[in-house]
Amino acid sequence: MTPEDKKGGRQMSNVMGIINNALDETFLEKLTNHRSLASVPFGARYRLIDFPLSNMVNSGIKNVGLLLESKYRSLMDHIGPGKAWDLDRKRNGMFILPPAHIYQANRAYKGDLQNFASNIDYIKRSSQEYVIITSPNIVCNIDYRSAFQFHLENENDITIIYKELPVFRRDTTYTVLNTDDQDRVIDMRVNPAKNYYKKISLQRYIMKKELLLKIIDDCVSMGQWDFLKNGIIGNIDKLKVYGYPFKSYASVINSITGYYKSNLELLKPEVWQDLFLKHGSIFTKPKDEAPTEYKESSFARNILAANGCIIEGEVRNSILFRGVKVHPGAHIKNSIIMQKSEIGPNVYLENVILDKGVIITGDKELRGDTNYPLIIEKNSIV
């Protein structure tokens, strides 16, 4: 324990971060066939993990553990030693926490608390007294400092950051909660059939590290393996659990359409502003791409584009990741085109998601629906 950490209750350096990547990710279908949810590309140049990780770093957290479950090679490539987040440190820094249960290949996976339990040494060894537990499937730009101050001043056992939706959308799944007038959490449900509260959990939980250790121990010793359902919801009657409202842009990625629409939402300048320019930058692995080139024949309206693209065709209402090539005569509309994909001459794309490295050869036409975008798998040639 260096003095930097031990001194004080109230500074963010006394908080460790855990990003829980041991979540079910099958809802993203083809996008998570070969990668974890955390490394799903988002917003023209990011991956989902960049948001919770940058939020932590920007809030002054210096020790972050990444709980992993499976398919994490692409995540490790992306994160590396944490340099982009200034987390490649001798003290504290970033810790990659692979699951221990793969050691026993024949044992079935029970739930994410298994991952917490198998990395309990890291949690114990960390010098911070508090912990923020987050997950990668929520995109927002949040400064945890005020929530942490609320946690301390209100002497909560657990603080859950939530957002109140203007309307409840039924095309995706949420963890909802209900609070009393003082924001104490009185009910909380995962993807309920009824009880549609408009307050949705942003899956950011603040608590004492000691409490987390106790929750892990209690649950595991009783054969409970779900952090959210057993560890949090199972405790709202027993502990002082409060909600903390978050009022800026936040988007929950819990379905393909949710993913698709959240990406396209970034085209609204106020969302762009909220997500990228408030509370510090979103950091990501730099790729040293040249600026994007718009050629003579290009036509671009309402797009977000990363660097390294060469655009000779028409692109509207779309998100272009790094190094995308759009050939002359191609038309792209309401689509998400991932890294290094290439759209041949006179192709027509509408409401599609092209994963990385897809090649669409000349004159093809692909069309999905706004509520059912067409996904083309990584490295496909169409």
């Binding site: 917003g43 023209a44 140049r45 340099k83 982009a84 085209l267 300048p269 762009w272 997500l275 990228f276 320019l277 930058s281 979103i282 950091f283 990501t284 730099p286 040293d288 040249a290 600026p291 994007t292 080139e293 718009y294 050629k295 003579e296 290009s298 671009a300 309206r301 309402n302 797009i303 977000l304 584009a305 990363a306 660097n307 390294g308 060469i310 998100i319 272009l320």
Partner: protein, 392 residues
């Protein structure tokens, strides 16, 4: 670890006076280029891509900005456990200190640094040209020729020979004569200011030259002629690709326009020869519904609401609605207000052009002239900046 075979020494102290307001606050090698880069990124990336991993960067004019830009060299993959990039400002020694007299004197003053690595060869570079070059191929040439020194040269138009140092060579490319800006050149091979020397041999010449009070301490004027006189084996290495000296406002602007051709000679998209830079972390750029973008290079973090034609737009720039910019170079974080109209201009870092300005549109000029707005200037709304004017 393998020892250092060839050490790079990059001369990055130039004030670049002919660039005017562009170098008011920074040394020439720190001048932004191509929306994403600074001039020094080109030689540094060339070093990195050529496998030269020990580089001294000699600064002088405004060293702090360059120092913090270069940092530990990790941007160019030059943060090595041994070697890597070292920034060398002209420091004050026990007996005092002075700015470098010339290019050779700059190397002479840093003999102690070079000796730390005791390289076989020293590569001397300058920090203000735009080009992609594999220095390891030049070294192979140098070795094959068994040369004492090799000088990279490029063919220039015969009518321009009087602006360059011209190398006269025999059939084997051996240099028998050096003419500085000759009126009647015998040859059109101009020195690019890129030299490979055998270090032990160069070391002697540098020490001898430093002892001469009347020497300019310059490679072109002193060291090379001296070596030629001594009949050393000096060879010209001909470079045939894109190379541009951006020494004046106009050549700087033109080099940007060169990037916008349909098949630009300098390919900055080549993933096999990445031009690295210090990556400012910015969100993707945004082209609004109201925007119109043609024939332009646009970098991250910029927001385009107006019309952009034949422009290079650096990170963090914002072009307002109904603004029209043509043939412009927009440097980082410049803001162009709604309805402004700008043509043939360079808009420097953090400039704010308020709404409805006209820049480089009005006024007359016999010859073509670039209009320039210097760093941090604010142009009030409705202002009219005439063609060729330099503000700042």
């Amino acid at each position: 670890m393998p020892e250092v075979e060839m050490l790079g020494m990059l001369l990055a102290g130039g004030k670049g006076s002919r660039l005017g307001v562009l170098t008011k606050n920074i040394a020439k090698p720190a001048v932004p280029f191509g929306a994403e880069y600074r001039l020094i990124d080109f030689p540094l990336s060339n070093c990195s891509n050529s496998g030269i991993d020990t580089v001294g960067v000699l600064t002088q004019y405004k060293p702090l900005v360059l120092n913090s830009y270069i940092g530990n060299g990790s941007s160019w993959d030059l943060d090595r456990r041994r070697g890597g990039v070292t920034v060398l400002p002209p420091y004050v020694k026990e007996g005092g200190g002075a700015w470098y007299k010339g290019t050779a004197d700059a190397i002479y003053q840093n003999i102690e640094f070079i000796d730390l690595y005791n390289p076989e060869y020293v590569l001397v570079l300058s920090g203000d040209h735009i080009y992609k070059m594999d220095y390891s191929e030049m070294l192979d040439y140098h070795k094959n020729k068994n040369a004492e020194a090799s000088i990279a040269v490029i063919e220039v138009p015969w009518e321009d020979t009087n602006r360059f140092g011209i190398m006269n060579t025999d059939d084997e490319h051996r240099i028998y004569e050096f003419q500085e800006k000759p009126d009647n050149a015998k040859n059109n091979l101009a020195s690019m200011g890129i030299y490979i020397f055998n270090w032990q041999s160069l070391r002697k010449y540098l020490i001898a030259d430093a002892a001469k009070a009347d020497s300019d301490g310059d490679f072109g004027k002193n060291i090379i002629p001296e070596m030629i006189d001594d009949d050393l084996e000096i060879y010209a290495y001909t470079f045939k690709n894109y190379w541009k000296d951006v020494g004046t406002i106009e050549s700087y602007w033109r080099a940007h326009m060169d990037l916008l051709g349909d098949n630009p000679e300098l390919n900055i998209h080549d993933r096999n020869w990445i031009i690295y830079s210090v990556n400012p972390n910015r969100p993707p750029h945004y082209i609004a519904e109201t925007a119109e973008v043609d024939h332009s290079l646009i970098n991250k973090g910029s927001q385009i609401f107006g019309k952009v034609d034949n422009c290079v737009i650096s990170y963090g720039a914002r072009i307002g609605k109904n603004a029209v910019i043509e043939n412009c170079v927009i440097l980082p974080n410049a803001r162009i207000g709604v309805g402004s109209h700008i043509k043939n201009a360079i808009i420097c870092e953090n400039v704010t052009i308020e709404r409805n300005c006209e820049i480089g549109i009005n006024g007359e000029s016999d010859e073509f002239k670039v209009t320039v707005i210097g760093d941090n200037e604010v142009i009030k709304k409705g202002a009219n900046i005439e063609i060729g004017k330099v503000v700042g």
